[in-house]
């Protein structure tokens, strides 16, 4: 785990102090709302439908038990006893008062946490594979690089007022669990002649113009990483459009100017930025890397308890089948704790649940917790012998749902229930789909199926990369839901295609049920996933399942 240095501490305390001063100046009138807005956004403070919202950074999704407990404390003390984990590995509180936020930031600063650069037109909190440092398929742990990028981008004087927000994701595995090509910059670790470097993609993004990132450089050695990123940002700050906020992201510049033009520009800027770095960043990186050393795992401890529980308890076996992933060490497993109990709000955790997760991570899991972009909580280093005990504790707290990667493991944005930009609700749709398929008891038979729901075109719910995507719109004052098919958020990323006309909020659940039943009827065998079947057969049979009446008419 990264040890927050006195430097980091001084920095976050300083920022909290500055924000307190900014709030005071806003209240005194020295800052207008227009001026205050970007300043509060730089500190994670939004104004939503019912209240302010505070988005707290969990850099690359890594959080310690003490930090998790502090989030629980904040939920109880200043909010309504719960928090919401987001698709960018952050956490949001929905009910803070502006005048309390400086105190909340002070409290966070005590455990090295902050809300810096979780909003606004700046480089956002860098995200990474939530299995980093544990996954069996990994080239190297990407988090030291993510932490280096966090430090570089934090308070970068040149890049606080970019044309638009800017997202960077890092993956250390050939299997992309960080959706890197949907980011402004996607970094995919590659090895070339025993040297580690990154394949750099630019111009990915979802939102109203979903685009898959394009490779701007096939291999940037790690020693050049920061100057190269700085060159991309420098170029973007110059050529990114400022005349239309919907065309201001890097992806539009890449689309309009072409990847070759962008590559030339970046190369020219790289010649400027490379000499600006004197190499100290590599010493810092080496120091960071030491702190992400592999935890000391127990050797030789029997996993018989795990095997026995699997044999004896079908509930445990079902959970183990869906919620565990391979660890580098076969005696260990990566546990994903679902925040998506059927009928619950996806991504929400109560303060008691947060404390339980902290306790379990401390007792069994090397004190390591992760937040996934799929809004679940990951414990990356769990000995298999401990799994039955952990599962029992999780179940008792409503955290034992066996649905990772299944139809009820839905990503949903806050939608019209909370968000000032939303055009329709997302949460109730997710709740109803999960409840319905739980009733049908079909979930495990269906197998891997990613449903992602956004409450507006900005696509915070990643609907474009859902195998089934649902986009909530406002049609003449009535919520309406469009379905997209065939999206994929992995290394084979693709953007889903719109299936046809939208559905009302009463029609959408039966429509999804028809769609899934239709898939079950046409799949080759139970190993063929929804996405594989879609890619094999194309959209026609799926559309037929969605719109049966039309087919009859035709």
């Amino acid at each position: 785990m990264y040890h927050h240095s006195e430097f980091d501490r001084a920095f976050v305390i300083d920022r909290a102090e500055r924000f307190r001063d900014q709030v005071n100046r806003r209240i005194s009138g020295a800052l207008t709302e227009e001026e205050f807005r970007p300043l509060r956004l730089m500190n994670g403070v939004y104004l939503q439908l019912h209240a302010y919202m505070l988005r707290i950074a969990i850099p690359y999704g890594t959080i310690s038990p003490d930090q998790m407990r502090r989030l629980a404390h904040i939920a109880d003390r200043w909010d309504k006893g719960y928090g919401h984990f987001t698709t960018r590995q952050n956490i949001q509180f929905n009910w803070p008062k502006l005048v309390d936020i400086p105190d909340m930031l002070d409290s966070l600063a005590e455990v090295g946490m902050h809300a810096i650069q979780t909003s606004g037109n700046t480089i956002r909190n860098v995200t990474a594979d939530h299995f980093s440092g544990a996954a069996a398929d990994e080239i190297a742990d990407p988090r030291p690089y993510a932490e280096l990028i966090r430090q570089w981008s934090t308070d970068h004087p040149e890049f606080q007022f970019l044309p638009r927000k800017f997202k960077i994701a890092v993956s250390g595995s050939p299997n992309d669990r960080a959706v890197v090509k949907s980011h402004d910059i996607g970094l995919r670790m590659v090895r070339r002649d025993d040297q580690i470097g990154f394949e750099v993609s630019v111009g990915g993004g979802l939102g109203r113009t979903p685009l898959v990132g394009k490779v701007v450089n096939e291999f940037v050695p790690t020693t050049d990483l920061l100057p190269y990123l700085e060159a991309i940002l420098s170029a973007y700050n110059t050529v990114g459009r400022r005349d239309n906020k919907y065309k201001a992201r890097l992806k539009i510049a890449v689309q309009e100017l072409g990847i070759d033009h962008i590559r030339e520009l970046v190369e020219a800027r790289f010649a400027e930025t490379r000499p600006m770095f004197d190499g100290s960043d590599q010493a810092v990186l080496a120091e960071i890397a030491k702190q992400f050393a592999q935890p000391e795992l127990v050797e030789g401890r029997s996993t018989a308890a795990y095997d026995a529980a699997r044999d004896a308890d079908p509930v445990f076996r079902s959970w183990a089948d869906t919620n565990l992933h391979d660890h580098k060490n076969p005696d260990y497993a990566i546990v994903t704790v679902s925040t998506k109990k059927h009928g619950a709000t996806p991504g929400d955790a109560t303060s008691d649940q947060m404390r339980l997760l902290a306790d379990i991570a401390e007792e069994y899991g090397q004190g390591d917790l992760r937040i996934s972009h799929e809004q679940n909580v990951v414990m990356p280093h769990i000995h298999r012998a401990d799994l039955p005990a952990i599962h029992a504790k999780l179940r008792e707290a409503g955290l034992g749902t066996a649905n990772i990667g299944l139809v009820s493991d839905i990503i949903a944005c806050p939608g019209l229930d909370y968000c000032a930009l939303a055009t329709a609700r997302s949460i109730p749709i997710a709740q109803q789909i999960a409840t319905r398929f739980d009733e049908l008891k079909l979930e495990h038979e269906i197998g891997e199926l990613k449903i992602k729901i956004s409450g507006c075109i900005n696509a915070c719910g990643h609907h474009h990369v859902g195998h089934i995507g649902i986009l909530g719109l406002d049609r003449a004052g009535v919520e309406n839901y469009q379905v997209t098919l065939g999206g994929d958020g992995t290394e084979t990323m693709s953007v889903g295609e719109r299936a046809g006309p939208g559905f009302s909020k009463d029609e959408i659940i039966p429509a999804i049920e028809r769609l899934v039943q239709g898939y079950l009827a046409i799949r080759e065998d139970e190993d063929e996933t929804f996405l594989q079947a879609y890619r094999r057969l194309g959209p026609a049979p799926f559309k037929a399942a969605l719109y049966p009446a039309e087919e009859k008419a035709a």
Binding site: R26, I27, G29, E33, L47, Q48, L49, H50, A51, Y52, K80, N94, W95, P96, K97, L98, V99, T345, L416, D417, Y418, A422, R425, I427, P428, Q431, D474, G477, V478, E479
Partner: protein, 99 residues
């Protein structure tokens, strides 16, 4: 043909705690929609909006929110306004819990 003017109220969020507020005919910001001034004429809406912006020290994001007349004063004129007036649908939080 000019579009028919749909009735509105003046609404905003409170600077200090972010809660939804509405402007009454007596220039007070209040938390309940049914106490707001329902505006049915376009010219009056413009005039009241300019006035609201001038007195809006504690009001953030002042805008004209669709509303309709109801038995006890204005009611929401759009689903978004219904959520603003009551609170979210997944938890019993917000104004619905304060009533």
């Amino acid at each position: 043909m000019a579009r028919k003017f749909e009735p509105v109220v003046i609404s905003a969020n409170d600077l200090f705690d972010g809660r939804v507020i509405y402007l009454t005919g007596a220039d007070e910001w209040v938390p309940h929609l049914n106490q707001a001034e329902l505006i049915t004429e376009e010219d009056h809406a413009k005039h009241r909006m300019a006035h609201a912006l001038a007195l809006s020290d504690r009001a953030v994001g002042v805008f004209l929110a669709p509303a309709r007349p109801g038995p006890d004063g204005p009611v929401p004129g759009h689903p978004r306004e219904a959520f603003r007036a009551n609170g979210p649908s997944n938890y019993f939080h917000g104004k619905q819990a304060e009533a």
